[in-house]
C-alpha cells in the first residue's frame, strides 16, 4: 500500500516537474495564470480570508477615518505597491504578478477585519507583506480605517491630506506597542518574529524553513552557545539583544543591517537562539545572565 502511494506520488511529482521544467507552465511575471487558475486562486483566497479574519476582533470604536496621520502611515507602507486615489504605484509594482490590488475597490468590498487581516498576516507568494510584530496594533487599525474610508475620498481630498500630513514618519515608530512583553523573552514569538524580519534571507536557523546552503551571515543554530557575539563582544543576553537591534553599535564594520527590531522583539529572538543552542537560558532575564 505504502509503496503504491509512494510510486504514485513520485509519478505525479515527475509529471509536474516535466510540465514546469519543460516550459509548459509559464512562471514569468508577464503572463497571468490561465483564467480558470486565476479565478480558482481568487475563490480559495477569499474563502480562507473570510474564515480566518473572523478571529480578530474589530475594536469597538472603529470607524473609517481619512486624516493626515493615517495617510502618512499609508504612504510610508502601502502606496509603493497599491497606489492611492489618483496616485499610481511605484514603477516596480506595475510589473508585479499578481499586480497589487486597487485598495479603493478593496475598501468597498471588504469588511475592516479582512483589510486588517491582510495587513497583519500578508499573503504568501503574492508579494503582500505581513506587518505582524513590525507595526503596532494601533497603526494597523489606523491604516485599515483609511482603506475603509477610501471609497468616499476623492483624489483631490487625498492630495490635500498628503499636503497636510507629516511627510515622513519615523520608521516603524510605534512597534513597541506591539507587546505585551515581559522582561523574559518568549522563544516561540522570537521564532515567528525572525520569519517576519527576513532573518532566513541571510541565516540558516534551526526550526525555521529556509535554504540549506545559505551563508550570507553565519548559521545561528549554535549562536547562543558561541563565546562571542558576531566575533567581537562576549556572548551575554544583553549583548545579543543589543546586536540584534543595532549591529553597527557593536561592530561598525558589520555587514548585518539594522532591521528596526524593537527591544521586546529582540529579547524574544535572543530567547529563541539560546533555546535552540541548548544553553538552558531560554528565558532571557533583564539582568545579564551568562549563557555559558
Amino acid at each position: 500500500m505504502r509503496i503504491m502511494l509512494v510510486s504514485l506520488g513520485s509519478l505525479a511529482a515527475a509529471g509536474v516537474l516535466a510540465f514546469v521544467a519543460g516550459g509548459f507552465y509559464d512562471i514569468t511575471a508577464i503572463k497571468q495564470h490561465p483564467a480558470w487558475v486565476f479565478h480558482a486562486i481568487g475563490i480559495g483566497r477569499d474563502t480562507l480570508v473570510a474564515l480566518q479574519a473572523d478571529a480578530d476582533e474589530v475594536p469597538e470604536d472603529f470607524a473609517p477615518v481619512a486624516d493626515a496621520r493615517n495617510v502618512a502611515l499609508y504612504r510610508k507602507h502601502c502606496t509603493q505597491c497599491h497606489g492611492a486615489p489618483g496616485v499610481a504605484p511605484e514603477e516596480f509594482a506595475l510589473g508585479m504578478m499578481p499586480v497589487p490590488s486597487n485598495l479603493v475597490a478593496a475598501g468597498r468590498e471588504r469588511p475592516p477585519e479582512e483589510i486588517y487581516w491582510f495587513i497583519r498576516y500578508g499573503l504568501k507568494m503574492s508579494g503582500m507583506p505581513a506587518w505582524s510584530m513590525r507595526m503596532s496594533e494601533a497603526d494597523m487599525w489606523r491604516i485599515t480605517a483609511l482603506v475603509e474610508a477610501f471609497p468616499t475620498l476623492s483624489p483631490e481630498a487625498y492630495a490635500e491630506l498628503v499636503e497636510a500630513g507629516p511627510q515622513q514618519l519615523d520608521s516603524m515608530t510605534s512597534v513597541a506597542e506591539a507587546g505585551p512583553f515581559t522582561p523574559f523573552g518568549n522563544p516561540e514569538r522570537g521564532r515567528k518574529a525572525m520569519q517576519v524580519h527576513a532573518c532566513p534571507q541571510c541565516h540558516m536557523i534551526e526550526g525555521i524553513v529556509g535554504r540549506s546552503d545559505l551563508h550570507v551571515g553565519p548559521p545561528l543554530d549554535d549562536a547562543g552557545a558561541r563565546k562571542y557575539i558576531a566575533g567581537v563582544v562576549p556572548n551575554t543576553p544583553e549583548n545579543m539583544i543589543r546586536w540584534i537591534m543595532h549591529p553597527q553599535e557593536v561592530d561598525p564594520l558589520s555587514a548585518m543591517p539594522d532591521l528596526g527590531v524593537s527591544e521586546g522583539i529582540a529579547r524574544d529572538m535572543a530567547a529563541y537562539l539560546y533555546a535552540i543552542a541548548g544553553t538552558g537560558h531560554a528565558s532571557v532575564g533583564a539582568a545579564p545572565v551568562d549563557p555559558r
Binding site: D213, A225, R226, K227, V232, A255
Partner: protein, 112 residues
Amino acid sequence: MMRALILLPLLLAGCDDDPSAAARALISANGCGTCHQIPEFDGADGVTGPPLTAMSRQVYVAGVVPNTLEALTAFIADPQAIDPRSAMPDLNLSQDEARLIAQYLYAVGEGS
C-alpha cells in the same frame, strides 16, 4: 622563534608535494580547532569562533568584508587589520602561511 622552529619542519615536510598537508600542519600547530569547527579535522569543534565548515560558500569574511582569497588570507594573517574589534587573536602567521590555510579552507567542507 621557538614556534617558527617547530613549524618549519612541518611546513617543509608538506610544501614539497602537498600544500594541504602543510595547511593541516599549520592548523594543528596553531590550535585553530580549539576555537573553530573545521571539516575533516578530528577534534576541531570549538565554539569560540564561528564554524569554518563552508568557507567557500560564505559571502563575507568575519561578517565585514567580501569573501575573496585575498581577504581571507589577510584576516587569518592579521584579524585586527580587517576588523579592529575582532576577538580572534593574531597568531603571527605569515602571508604565505595564511594563504595556505585559506586555500585549504576553501577546498574542504560544504560547497567545495
